[in-house]
Point group: C2
Chain length 479, copies 2
Amino acid sequence: MTTSTKEANSESILSDIAINAELADYSPVKGCMVIRPHGYAIWESIQKILDKMIKDTGHENAYFPLLVPESFLQKEAEHVEGFAPECAVVTQAGGKELNEKYVIRPTSETIINHMFSKWVGSYRDLPLKLNQWANVMRWEMRTRLFLRTSEFLWQEGHTCHSTHEEAKKEVMQMINVYKDLLENYLAVPVHIGEKTDSEKFAGALDTFTIEALMRDGKALQAGTSHDLGQNFAKAFDTTFTSQENKLDYVWQTSWGVSTRLIGAIIMGHNDEVGLILPPKIAPFQVVIIPILKKNMDNSLVLEKSKELKSQLEQLDIRVKLDDRTQISQGHKFNEYEQKGIPIRLVVGARDLENNQVEIHRRDIQSKEKGVPLENLDNRIKDLLDEIQNSLLNRALEFRNKRTKTVTSIEELDSVLNCEGGFARAMWNGDTELEKILKEKFSASIRCLPLEKELSEDTPCLFSGTISSENKEIMIAKAY
Amino acid sequence: MTTSTKEANSESILSDIAINAELADYSPVKGCMVIRPHGYAIWESIQKILDKMIKDTGHENAYFPLLVPESFLQKEAEHVEGFAPECAVVTQAGGKELNEKYVIRPTSETIINHMFSKWVGSYRDLPLKLNQWANVMRWEMRTRLFLRTSEFLWQEGHTCHSTHEEAKKEVMQMINVYKDLLENYLAVPVHIGEKTDSEKFAGALDTFTIEALMRDGKALQAGTSHDLGQNFAKAFDTTFTSQENKLDYVWQTSWGVSTRLIGAIIMGHNDEVGLILPPKIAPFQVVIIPILKKNMDNSLVLEKSKELKSQLEQLDIRVKLDDRTQISQGHKFNEYEQKGIPIRLVVGARDLENNQVEIHRRDIQSKEKGVPLENLDNRIKDLLDEIQNSLLNRALEFRNKRTKTVTSIEELDSVLNCEGGFARAMWNGDTELEKILKEKFSASIRCLPLEKELSEDTPCLFSGTISSENKEIMIAKAY
């Protein structure tokens, strides 16, 4: 398969799954999608888990205006350069041309700093640790459902600290919260790493990222956490009086993940049938399908199905009972397989006579007939754990297989253009490599991973030199 | 006090409370506010309760684009007339002038109908019952924190049905859900009623409203539920094939409440100290303040405070322990009183020697010393219920006192311009009355209440006639 067919193929996998699973639909607004109930329920699962993590680490939620005065964006030089070209601009309102234009927030550092400068006066007001759940807009030329849309939903954390050290700790704490979310709930393993200067957030001193590998061999930047230094504080005069009665700028961080995470689930777990949902974030983990016969008394089957549902719910398992009569059983099987529901329980009259049901496991598409009703609830609970672990392990294995060390551009070529995946290498820091990656390979340095695996005597893939100045990097094609 | 001083006074009550309780702050964007953590936490309480009610009545959440093509708004004649003057318009994006302008959604009937027309084909797809939590924007000339801001947060339900009868049932179901939320959680009593033609939603056949009375004697429209008939379905060609194989337009409803509800809490429950929060929606219901002495061993007081916290939490009571040392006790007392926290528990060393604490109740500003620790958790739980009921009863009493039957414009004048409140009256339907109300009294017909109290022989306050055609109405000045 050529690169361009591969590319087209991976695009169609994403859109086929998202549309068939009724996660999303195309909208009449350029680059924007509609998130349908099944997709939104996944987002609600993610929100519930992450919101608790954010609050447990001492942050509070707040809400800031959607519109940002255009002049605010211009106060931080790198920031405006990075974001202005992507902005949607409001020029009229209330039937009049506006004196000052507003941009729809592409991110909220500027407007939030305006408020911070009002609220922060002394070291007693610090640390100030806020988070916002909101929609943002970045006008994209080329969009893909969930992975790159002009409007997306996200959370953005914004914090102020009295020392750089404390801010740096916050940056690392939050990127680790994201890693926890991805690995232990979404079953998507990630590498934490630092971005190169050319890839960091516009206005940040330093950006940390979590990078995941999708089943099509591409990397996905799934979340970022930024050390903003005092850049925005200087632009917005966000100062505080220290305990020693000195005036200083606050040290800041910001960090975010978005509905892109649903794209990570789609492209991280799928097979030829469609989506596979990790149990911990599935809107419902078990679907019960009673076999309903026309012109027959189905009351026993229905009653037993309801009983099973409430038994499972007592173990905090999320269950849907589909007792629709106008939809065929085969249609239902197909619908929930495409939607990625982890377990299907089929309840039929004949099975019930023997106190049995049928279990179908979505992740490996396996069916088990004649499963005893006795202790079924605990068995299902264990099975959900097993599926969750199995999905993570499968993704880990996949990633490990597709991560190779390269010491030359030729070796790199073979990794990027055959199976795809991560190329691990040493790099002397010459930014010329980043240009070549972009132009020749449509690839990039995804990160300088925190967990290093190469020995110091691995030569730079670009210059061939061995030096203690060389940095370990991970290269991949990315979304 | 003259009307204009009263007006100014009620405005300053709202903003003083909102600012001092740190619910919100003014933003640099015209007419938009910042919702601070304490205000946002109240919104989260409301969301949690209402989201469950919405799901329990069979609706699913989804998300539609923020931007609406300008041409969509124009497809429904009344709708565009009502909303176009308030729209914020995006004319540039991605560095270019747009061929088609977008408005920031003032409400989403049009864009959602575009999608509905794609999704609905047959009676099997109905009813379709969706809800969206989102931000919306209506450019307002005169804004007030929470009660009227250019951007606000809300939920908007949108449903499609195969018959008008079913749609009407949905409209009534949801206005009753809102009444339940307001009365049994926010402790704000409301009247359900129908809007007059001139006050109904732009594009609806009929609008039902819940109207509350604030402590300044003004009415507040706190939520609405609309029977859209087939108006939007016709504009967007949202059709379905019936069971009898006939093509028909769907019957639709929409309904919403917003962050205005926080305004209803502020203006519905307050005293000269500030905000009073009903326990059921208070972000935390109890604040524990240990009395910390300088240069002393405070470990026992702190330990007991933590123990109390976890005891209360076991009864699902939301508790905050404020053990900050750099803030004085008096400052803390004042802060939580202004923030409206229902109960304050003060834990001091001397009290502990006698196994006692001090309880302060915010709603009536009463203090009880020497409360035994024994069974304190259950006592607090009961007290929270008592406060919740007491706030509702107080508001009911207040409203009943300020609701008077009027049979002439003179009597109306005295109600509206003395104490304020609702004037209940009969009306012959002449729209001239609505003009007089607006021009002479800055008042309006708030609704035709569902629960009628007047006898049929009450004369029309406008014409003096007695007729079975007369309708019962409630008049008030409103936000």
